[in-house]
Symmetry: C2
Subunit: 422 residues, 2 copies
């Protein structure tokens, strides 16, 4: 992919998690303001990305991908931050995966020119977005199909526009999400694609294995998909010289790499993996996944160091109204709460030399829109106004609560800011 032409916009002064700044300043000048989270230059709660850990994770995944000889199209829905997309592309990403037409539009407007939409393109409003972007010849796009009705609608729409849409056949699993379940459904989709030779091109096969929870079932599924890809290739139905075969969320990308890399499907094969959460990692669902990867995957073991959690949300102790209970100024609007509540990581009292580890006895027990309830021992050394850094589980649903996040060094001095486009 050509270098991303990233145009940083102005710093948004009407949102949360920032300090004092002159009107109209560019977001990429934030690092020059000298803000420090620990010096209370910034309004809490604030979401921070730890520079060194982001860089570590980028390098980790680049090494992993290179070792398997596969391509990486990180799922951009996680961060929806073009400044981070740029860093992913600088670290070897082939393109960016996205989930919806508006996400594709936002990425395109910030310079991304190769997109795999790992989803069906449904509705004329969304088709129109993609058709408008495809008027740019430098823009490469493909999306998934899993039903003849959708293929018919796409074939008709893009024929009307005089355009060609590149599609991936999506394979799914019984009891799962999208994707054809069996060969009968597959055939119906292939036949419908064949009815639109001027406007549709079948360029590959796509899966999302993450709806399965057992490794053996995932491997069986992936092998079936390789076999079906081989069959479709033998039938001569792929419209381009190379076949695209794509899978992998953030939990099973190692297994997908093992199963897809280097397979012989009878045509030149491009394997594209799509993990998105590796960039920031977490201390919840993805740390759990990482533990398995480190235990099982030989390449991950050789790389040695694991991914590091890089996204935190700092918040103040707002009230200590009863023994054993701290009210934190951190709510459901500031951090994901659907796959584990935020976990206290560091405790800092303004003026102290440095943060200290938060005791494991501190635990968030519930959250409201703008508050968290944290249980603490009766003698916990907490004061109203103290600062706590929370690690999180589920980066996707944390990023979308912030229009800007700050990047910080290991002393929580602010090195920059990145905007999101949800």
């Amino acid at each position: 992919m050509p270098e991303i032409k990233f145009q940083p916009g102005p710093l948004d002064l009407e949102t949360k998690g920032i300090g004092a700044a002159p009107a109209g300043m560019a977001i990429d000048a934030v690092g020059q303001l000298g803000w420090s989270v620990l010096a209370e230059d910034v309004s809490l709660p604030v979401a921070v990305l730890r520079d060194a850990r982001i860089e570590h994770n980028l390098q980790w995944m680049q090494t992993f991908i290179e070792r398997y000889g596969v391509s990486l199209a990180p799922h951009g829905k996680t961060t929806m931050s073009p400044a981070l997309f740029r860093r992913q592309i600088e670290h070897g990403a082939w393109g960016i995966t996205l989930a919806t037409a508006p996400q594709v539009n936002a990425a395109y407007r910030h310079g991304v020119r190769r997109v795999l939409m790992a989803n069906q393109l449904v509705g004329r409003g969304n088709m129109a977005i993609i058709a408008d972007l495809q008027r740019d010849d430098t823009f490469s796009f493909c999306c998934c199909v899993d039903s003849a009705d959708n293929v018919d609608a796409l074939g008709r729409f893009f024929a009307e526009r005089g355009q060609r849409l590149r599609v991936l056949l999506e394979y799914g699993v019984a009891g799962g999400r999208t994707g054809v379940r069996d060969e009968a459904q597959e055939l119906a989709v292939r036949e419908e694609i064949a009815r639109w030779p001027q406007s549709l091109s079948l360029v590959g096969v796509e899966v999302y294995e993450g709806v399965l929870k057992e490794e053996a079932a995932i491997r069986t599924f992936l092998r079936k998909v390789v076999a079906r890809t081989t069959t479709i290739a033998a039938a001569g139905e792929f419209a381009e010289p190379r076949v695209l075969l794509s899978g992998a969320g953030s939990a099973w990308f190692d297994v997908v790499a093992e199963e897809f890399a280097g397979q012989d499907v009878g045509m030149p094969l491009d394997v594209v993996l799509r993990p998105g959460c590796y960039l920031t990692h977490d201390v919840g669902i993805y740390r759990e996944a990482e533990t398995r990867i480190q235990a099982e995957n030989p390449v991950a073991r050789e790389i040695g160091r694991s991914l590091l959690p890089a996204l935190q949300v700092w918040a103040n102790v707002q009230s200590l109204p009863e023994p054993g209970r701290a009210i934190i100024a951190l709510g459901k609007r500031d951090a994901a709460f659907d796959a584990g509540l935020p976990i206290p990581s560091l405790h800092y009292r303004p003026g102290d030399a440095a943060p200290v580890a938060a005791p494991e006895t501190w635990a968030v027990t519930a959250m409201m829109d703008q508050h968290a309830f944290m249980s603490i021992p009766h003698d916990a050394p907490l004061r109203v106004g103290d600062m706590i850094a929370f690690d999180i589980s589920h980066p996707c649903l944390t990023f979308d609560k912030w229009r800007q996040l700050l990047t910080v060094d290991e002393a929580y001095r602010v090195t920059g800011a990145v905007a999101t486009f949800f």
Copy 2:
């Protein structure tokens, strides 16, 4: 409050839920584009506000408040939309309630000049935001205090700035959220306030009764708070000629009105209620609350008609991969999922004359970041590409997933758009 000077900004073309529009157009010109949701002019999912119902709800609450002779400071955290704040103020609101300093900043920048922050002001970054706004003499602000430590920090900070901060003593309940629990804590806060006569003014008492779930307990609590207000008034500790007494979330505002309105606390009294969700209402937690209000409150019964759900999210059927299962292009990033999942309300097939009611047998059973799983009968008349309008539970956590919402007439023709500032 003086008329809100609302400055509509440009339409955001990098977010979701919009149609095709020229670059740089003002958001308040959207109604002239002729978009129709049903004609698929708009990318789905889209969040829509039904004009007629919003107007109905605004009038309902204005009537309610006038009948009790109390003031309304709607909680702006619900929508964080200055265009909606303006309509609330045009319908008699005394000011806007907000939860955090960045929210206050966003509201101020869009013209709001009277704010009750129903929360503690904690952390120097947040205090700095408020101090900067208070340099404008036309800006009226107050916030809550519930600890001597916080009062000390506020007294010191605002003394350094040569400013005065107006504070409300917050009363809470055992096992609840913020707020002093008893007279000993209350006295500690009052004594600390008295230490900062140049920089702090005690101007009233505040409660959030919504952490209690039983009406009898709420009434007991509210009566205690009236008694404590009377005691503090008798002690001469309120710094202004009128005392502000504020309570009420969106579930118990009728009970708070009954208990607070017209009370004799020994000084002129301004009762300020703070419901926020009445504006859009919902079909979940607030419909439930409304049922009780309609059954019990004599003024609500006299008004007759109840609040109406005015916020919907339209989404496409993305895939029908198995009998009984529809995958909807609607995720946790598009609608609240913490207090009931979205409820299918209308079904529309593009080209049909009008939407029809969705059968009660259709139900969202789970959601992922960008998808919903909807269970349907095996013979449900659904096709990929069909549109479904979902009613929602919990407007606050739906609004914050949208940077813009469209306003629509009862035929879902787009009449305008409103921006949010989270």
